[in-house]
Symmetry: C2
Subunit: 290 residues, 2 copies
């Protein structure tokens, strides 16, 4: 089914716990709204879609993210990497003649299976809008950090590291939880953690946080920053070991983006922060054009 | 204070959640008992010691493990590695003239602080009793796996990896918990995990478990064994990368010992399982002799 979205349409970045709606007019964002109606808190997606149209306008709608997963509205099968705007546009799952879901991308990088769903819009948008070179290394830090090799504007390959999730688990449960109740700050302790992360030996480095306390070797106020540096550092070390790019382009909020930037610079590479909302809108516009 | 323990005495392996008492007579175990009165469930250690003597005999008593930590009876300061039986015996913390606590050992291996408390008795005992060569590599798998370089019968250096704790956290909380509810078996999926663990890239390899499910690449019944192999495999890979020993001597129960053995053999080294209770008794006897 090929339907024109026209110059006015709605785009929804619909994740597990949050949702952001964009009213796009002539390629620009005319209106936007964010709420906590992620897919896990929605039962009737048709009614939700109608409510969105009720608020933002009775327009064609393009949905991306977990809304296309098996916990969303309807599963949109993954498109295999390498995948660009054309492959994504060809893989749209049409709910009706003016409502479509963007498919995710799958890969088997070095025999390791990986998937993304939602991130592809930002990635392809960043390349299409010239926010990053058409062939470049991108990182999307978060609970599950995506590292993406773009080639000629396509997602050629990618790896997901559950760095943020491991950090959250360790702060909440187990031996280190009591020590990891501080704030993360970008300073000496974080960078010491990045250095330790170069060993890529997380299970032992983490126990070192406990031992440092027992031996009075580190102020416990620094433990959280050290742990963050360790996990982000190990993530960065693993990825840069197999990438020759001089620069990593980061799609993230300034706080997390700043931490990844510092870790990347500690490895002698450059880091470049990208506006992820601008990238999302650019990506949606490119998909709609096709 | 130097007091003779005589030929009949009590030895207690007193951990966080469990406790094992040995009545030693003429160097051999005359009687033993295990219960769940670990240090976290004990408030009055004097009364507990009296109760042990009430049951096993009014004898001198040597205590090892978390009983000597800051959550135990009284903190017994760590002895710095390299530490052998003589250093441990000299560092005993005497509660009274017939009750002593074995100190733990600390190290700063390659700038990374580490501590042990309780494991030292088994380790030194294994070497003293000839269960392992005086210079060898030992592993004590568990929640926190100890890897120990023995030199001339002393603990020269060691590293702790919280491999077991990470596995437990992942089975209980977060993205993978629902997939990791099976049993661990020593088979193809475990060995596939060991192979993946050679990357020493846990955060990304773990996400691969999720992706494999999404892409239908692995039967979910195998996910737990794969995850176990991955974590143990990464632990083994990190340790063998910095050790030239042909053989690793393992102090563990047969199940966990078997998993570590398989991972070590997958790295082309030999594994040798040791009776950890025999090692503990040998270690206590050596300390008492001095």
């Amino acid at each position: 089914m090929v339907v024109s979205f026209g110059s006015r349409f709605l785009a929804v970045d619909w994740g597990t716990t949050n949702r952001r709606v964009f009213l796009i007019a002539g390629g620009a964002v005319a209106e936007t709204g964010r709420d906590d109606r992620g897919v896990t808190s929605v039962e009737n997606f048709e009614a939700e879609a109608a409510a969105i149209r009720g608020r933002f306008g009775d327009l064609p709608m393009l949905l991306a993210g977990m809304v296309g997963s098996n916990i969303g509205w309807r599963p949109a099968p993954y498109v295999a990497a390498p995948a660009g705007v054309a492959e994504i546009a060809a893989g749209l799952l049409w709910i009706d003649d003016r409502t479509a879901i963007v498919p995710g991308i799958s890969t088997l990088v070095g025999g390791r299976p990986d998937v993304m769903r939602g991130e592809e819009v930002q990635l392809l948008g960043a390349a299409a809008a010239g926010l990053v070179p058409a062939s470049s290394l991108l990182a999307q830090p978060g609970t599950h950090c995506k590292w993406v090799e773009m080639q000629d504007g396509k997602v050629a390959d990618f790896v997901t590291a559950m760095t943020g999730e491991l950090f959250a688990l360790l702060r909440k449960h187990g031996l280190l939880a009591a020590q990891l109740d501080g704030e993360v700050t970008l300073g000496a302790a974080f960078l010491e953690g990045v250095e330790e992360g170069k060993r890529q030996d997380i299970a032992a480095s983490l126990f070192g946080i406990r031992a440092a306390k027992m031996l009075g070797r580190r102020d416990d106020a620094d433990a959280t920053s050290f742990a963050s540096g360790l996990l982000i550092g190990a993530d960065v070390a693993a990825r840069l070991a197999t990438s020759g790019h001089d620069t990593v382009h980061i799609l993230a909020d300034p706080m997390l983006g700043g931490l990844y930037s510092a870790a990347i610079e500690a490895h002698g590479r450059a880091a470049h922060l990208i506006d992820s909302h601008a990238a999302f809108v650019a990506g949606i516009n490119e998909i709609v054009k096709q």
